[in-house]
Symmetry: C2
Subunit: 304 residues, 2 copies
């Protein structure tokens, strides 16, 4: 991603610097908050699944949305880590033999390969619980904000969000889904948590109905763009670049945006969604949307 | 359990009536709140794992503790269902082939036998998320109470609670644990959620430090008694009576209180714990502890 200077801003915003600094804060917080010392070394598997991996897109979205609403930084850092824990647990469970049966993740052996299926399963379960524990500290974050953050995360993770999307994915292998059904599956499977990241960041501050609506639309467009680009990369990059097994969805007969729209069509769709995300931010009434814009660009322009 | 009339109470308390009525309320609420209509029928597996089964001990503890502190009934019913969802998800995951590989639960095929491993796994994940969603309604429960309930449940479910206890259990097969280690395993694996049920009920009202401490001790004693009795029943009852595979822990080389203390010793230990639970309630300063007493008796005197 290129560095950018936003004209008219009191402090020049450099996207690459902001991203790097935010990623460092998230890495440090995850390392502090995911326990190393637990009964029967369960924490070892939990940390393996979480610490030191990934682009941290969801946490960055939380922090960027918090910045846009000038919200509570401490709450946002907890929310950023909580949403990443939900993402990390879903990957651990998704990689299990009874699901995708994958052996490579972020360039490392998957958790069940490293620790066995039973400990990987439990580590995933404990990561989900830890997400809600992080959101509910005894002090430091207003209780109403804690409750709202839990509400947003629980909905996004559950049967009408991520888990529901995974259930559709499971049921869709070998079926010829149309674009509407494919979008619906991804809206839940990956979109719900990405959108929730934005809304959780917004919940760390005060936000009016118009801005909230704009952030929800931004989150939806970004979530869909993320998946479209994922499908493009899955068929244009190799496993080493992606850090996971490439071409797997197509090989399994799973529908993708590329199989549906062609490679050029999928790329054009991603650009459209980026334009839409930029547009809703422009009309949101929010002042500091630079980081949100930068993240949308990062999602669409990424190479892995 | 015998019906009892508590002298001196304005309304005579009949334990069996209270239990039956509370169970009915919980069944109805679970049926209302665990969704039937979800993406890809995931709700079907969720409901299978939750609706119409079990003694509902944890929900009853929430409601009984709420009664003892004269707390908020609506909050308590949500908390009662939330804790049961955590319990239900843990059973679904615990029964999976990579864990206990059990095929019978509450007299029915286990969830993965009925729905396949992948859907059972996802249904469990979605049940955990739903627990926190139930605790955070947009209105009707004060936000500070919502946050406190989430905090208690998340801690009890996670690596320093139930999931951690399961990790110890997994690591302990074939090892000769002493009574201290065995108690520690059960304190986490089953005790943490039972104790949290009591504390969540108390969090639905105002409670002073002495009463809170007494309720925590009551919950700890009851949790341990529950496991001791479980071990006794596991080696004295058949599978049909228990509704699950009997004698399995002993056959797997897992340590039990019976293998450690003998049958008579384990029974005596359970009676001691019941006395302890009664005693702490007497000195708690709480007025309406009849339901809590009745539940402790139910736990120790149950036959399945």
């Amino acid at each position: 991603m290129d560095s950018r200077v936003t004209p008219g801003s009191a402090n020049a915003f450099v996207a690459a610097d902001w991203v790097r600094e935010a990623q460092q804060r998230v890495e440090q917080a995850l390392s502090d908050w995911v326990p190393a010392v637990t009964p029967a070394d369960l924490g070892e598997a939990m940390r393996y699944a979480v610490v030191g991996g990934g682009k941290r897109l969801r946490p960055l979205l939380v922090l960027a949305a918090c910045m846009a609403v000038r919200g509570n930084h401490d709450a946002a850092l907890r929310a950023a880590c909580a949403v990443e824990l939900i993402h990390a647990y879903s990957l651990v469970h998704d990689d299990l033999p009874c699901m995708d049966n994958d052996v490579l993740r972020r360039g490392k052996p998957t958790a069940h390969v490293q620790f066995g299926e039973a400990r990987a399963l439990l580590a995933g379960d404990a990561l989900q619980a830890l997400a809600f524990e992080l959101l509910t500290p005894p002090e430091g974050v207003p209780p109403a904000m804690q409750a709202e953050l839990c509400r947003l995360l629980a909905r996004a993770a559950g049967a009408h969000g991520m888990a529901g999307g995974q259930a559709i994915d499971l049921a869709s292998v070998g079926l010829a889904l149309g674009q509407g059904q494919l979008s619906e599956m991804h809206r839940l499977k990956t979109g719900a948590l990405l959108q929730a990241s934005v809304l959780m960041g917004a919940a760390c501050g005060a936000v009016d109905a118009r801005a909230r609506q704009a952030l929800a639309q931004y989150g939806a467009a970004l979530g869909l763009a993320f998946q479209v680009v994922d499908d493009v990369l899955d068929c244009t990059q190799d496993s080493a670049t992606l850090g996971k097994t490439a071409g797997k969805d197509a090989a399994c007969g799973k529908p993708t945006f590329v199989s549906l729209m062609g490679l050029a069509g999928a790329r054009a769709h991603a650009r459209q969604l980026l334009d839409e995300a930029r547009q809703v931010l422009r009309t949101s009434g929010l002042a500091e949307t630079q980081a949100l814009v930068a993240l949308a660009e990062m999602v669409v322009e990424r190479q892995h």
